[in-house]
């Protein structure tokens, strides 16, 4: 309560110029960086994937509109900042490409309402909304969320057409058995649990070489690892993200993977497979770098990124799930405020502990 202000309306405050971009510009750059991988994913998986993507984004925008209205805010201005679209986009990239429609809608609800607006809207959520949705979906609906398909390029003869694609997404047509397949990580884990070690289970059909081109099963954002990497580097050069989290996260996976694979190649996957499969590239450049849920300081970002990578490796190698990026990111999100507090920058004129510097006479 300001008791001493003059009765004039609040005067304009310095600075009177601005050099900032806008939130919308940032979101547009991120979406542009995701576009190549997304289009490639559309080509690889065909019409069902396209419809699923559109429905996920649409559901997110719908729930955002609904929540904004409920909060009494003008929906138009806030929707234009593009954050709901981006959340939907990222969520869609982590779903199985031929998942049924209700996975998309429930995912949108979980991400926007329970992952973001319940905490107060943009900027207030402690957890990454897309990851909240993905993890909740995975735990609640394990079968549809792990029903992967082998790539079936949209131009192939036996690929579903538009109407067929729509029907597959809407659930009226079942996924043909011939198409369903397991991801590299899923296959590796299943075989290991059956006692078949990696040297035997990873044959030509699942060789890491195929990961490079992406011609293997996985989610939309998983298969095109190189395109994701390219988009991520573009964002880095445009200054939208900093290099700390991606580098730290990739190191967090690569280092243990290298050590493990060098020690026991039959039990531990190699670095290339780890980095190019699953949601690692997407996670490192697009998901863990989310401004709101990651630390704001440079050393904090390094710790956060490394933690995400390391936890991903641990979950993948010894955990119950074949893919660990989503869980790792959520776990590190809980530590973000603590990391921020312990990596505060040094104030000029004070020492690391916050005490004024002593004068050297």
């Amino acid at each position: 309560m300001s008791l001493n202000t003059a009765t004039l309306p609040a005067p304009a405050v310095a600075p009177h110029v601005s050099g900032a971009g806008s939130v919308t510009r940032t979101m547009l750059i991120v979406q542009a960086a995701l576009l190549p991988a997304t289009l490639y994913g559309f080509w690889l998986y065909g019409w069902p994937a396209i419809f699923l993507f559109l429905l996920t984004v649409g559901a997110c925008v719908f729930f955002e509109f609904f929540c904004l209205r409920l909060a009494g805010k003008a929906p138009a201005a806030h929707l234009l900042d593009g954050s709901a679209v981006l959340t939907g986009w990222l969520l869609a990239l982590t779903l199985p490409p031929w998942a049924p429609w209700w996975v998309a809608v429930v995912g949108g609800l979980l991400a926007i309402v329970f992952g973001k607006h319940v905490f107060g809207g943009i900027g207030q959520n402690p957890f990454n909304p897309a990851m909240v949705a993905r993890v909740a979906l995975l735990v609640s609906f394990p079968i549809p969320m792990t029903l992967w398909v082998a790539p079936l390029p949209i131009t192939a003869a036996n690929a579903p057409g538009i109407l067929e694609g729509l029907r597959i997404m809407l659930g009226s047509l079942p996924i043909p058995d011939a198409v369903s397949s397991a991801t590299l990580l899923g296959h590796a884990k299943t075989e290991l649990s059956r006692g078949v070690d990696l040297l035997h289970s990873l044959g030509a059909a699942h060789g890491p070489m195929l990961s490079l081109i992406g011609e293997r099963s996985g989610s939309l954002g998983e298969t095109a690892a190189w395109l994701i990497l390219g988009g991520g580097l573009a964002m880095l050069f445009l200054g939208v993200i900093s290099w700390h989290i991606p580098l730290a996260m990739l190191a967090g996976i690569a280092l243990p993977a290298a050590i493990g694979h060098a020690g026991n190649p039959a039990r531990y996957l190699d670095v290339g497979s780890h980095l190019l499969s699953g949601g690692v590239m997407l996670g490192a450049f697009f998901i863990a770098t989310d401004y709101v849920t990651s630390p704001s300081t440079a050393p904090g970002k390094l710790i956060f990124g490394f933690g995400c990578g390391f936890l991903t490796y641990v979950i993948r190698t010894w955990g119950g799930y074949p893919e660990g990026v989503a869980f790792a990111v959520l776990l590190m999100n809980t530590l973000t405020p603590v990391i921020d507090r312990f990596t505060m920058p040094r104030i000029l004129g004070r020492d690391r502990r916050g005490q004024p510097l002593s004068i050297k006479s």
């Binding site: 309560m1 300001s2 008791l3 001493n4 202000t5 003059a6 609040a10 405050v13």
Partner: protein, 175 residues
């Protein structure tokens, strides 16, 4: 299953007993709040709250007999600070507080009866019998005890004027 039920029930019983014993043994007898609350009060013992002085009002507030909004010179600031300290929730919109006020004498109406200067708790009103009185701005706490004493209504409460040195920026409106 019987074992599970029994063990959990026993655990609950044991912990509950422990809590009860702790409440008896470690109970805090004296209330250290009163002195702290008293230091937060204006300390001018004006009596506007109805209690004989700020110490008595502090005791009453801590013991729950008086509301945290009972002090007019303290205004919203004091009510909010007391509410925070005591962990009470209050509806600040009910507290009438238009900012700090001080008394002002309308010199053409003052008859020098001295009734006001006798009740001022900080001797902020100066003036002798049959002489025009005036208010020392730095000493006035805004308790309003003098207002009703004046037979000619020469005394009114006016908001403290803002000066260039004390002006502060208003808080920005959040998005």
């Amino acid at each position: 299953m019987i074992v599970a039920i029994l063990s959990l029930a026993l655990l609950g019983l044991f912990l509950g007993l422990g809590l009860g014993v702790a409440d008896r043994i470690f109970k805090v007898e004296t209330n250290p709040f009163i002195a702290e609350v008293e230091s937060m009060m204006p300390g001018s013992n004006c009596g506007q709250c109805g209690f004989p002085g700020c110490a008595a009002a502090a005791r009453a507030i801590v013991e729950g007999e008086a509301a945290v909004t009972c002090c007019p010179p303290g205004g919203k600031n004091l009510a909010a600070a007391l509410a925070t300290r005591l962990g009470v929730s209050i509806d600040l919109s009910q507290v009438k507080d238009d900012g700090p006020k001080i008394a002002v004498v309308a010199e053409e109406l003052c008859i020098g009866c001295c009734r006001c200067s006798k009740v001022c708790p900080t001797d902020a009103l100066i003036g002798a019998a049959k002489q025009i009185h005036d208010v020392l701005r730095e000493a006035c706490t805004g308790c309003s005890s003098c207002i009703e004493k004046c037979p000619t209504e020469a005394l009114t409460m006016k908001p403290v004027p803002v000066t260039l040195q004390h002006w502060i920026w208003p808080k920005p409106i959040a998005a």
